[in-house]
Symmetry: C2
Subunit: 96 residues, 2 copies
Amino acid sequence: MSNPKLTELRTQIDELNLQILNLINKRGQLVQEVGKLKEVQGTNRFDPVRERAMLDLIQENNNGPFETSTLQHIFKEIFKANLELQHDDHRKALLV
Amino acid sequence: MSNPKLTELRTQIDELNLQILNLINKRGQLVQEVGKLKEVQGTNRFDPVRERAMLDLIQENNNGPFETSTLQHIFKEIFKANLELQHDDHRKALLV
């Protein structure tokens, strides 16, 4: 399918994919820093109140086309990935 | 926990969340346009070759800290959400 309009849209989607990829990784780095702070303070890495606040922020700022529930589902996957990353960091710290 | 460094990191994370939210929605709009083009051309909306190419692009451009498999999992959730959105659009078009 060599429709020029389709090719153009796909190029734009690829660019968005890379931007999203970079932001998710940047977010990962920040959450790693939060994890280190919490490690020092001895507080739990998983904070349901903070997670709820982030999901509420998604709801308040969603202009579509996606349903808020769909976006919240995607963000929960991002949060989960971050918790796993912090868990790995914690395990590595214990092994040092 | 009122650590000023933590508050600053959380503000940065909130900003990233909103940027990611907006990019996912922008991506949704572009994929809706792709869906309309495919509707006209009578081609299938789900294209496994295109999906594989996008996942490969993630792999090639991942600088961490996340594992590529983790990021690909998150992106598959985004792709799935888009397919559902296109399905809804298709259903609405049939109902007109």
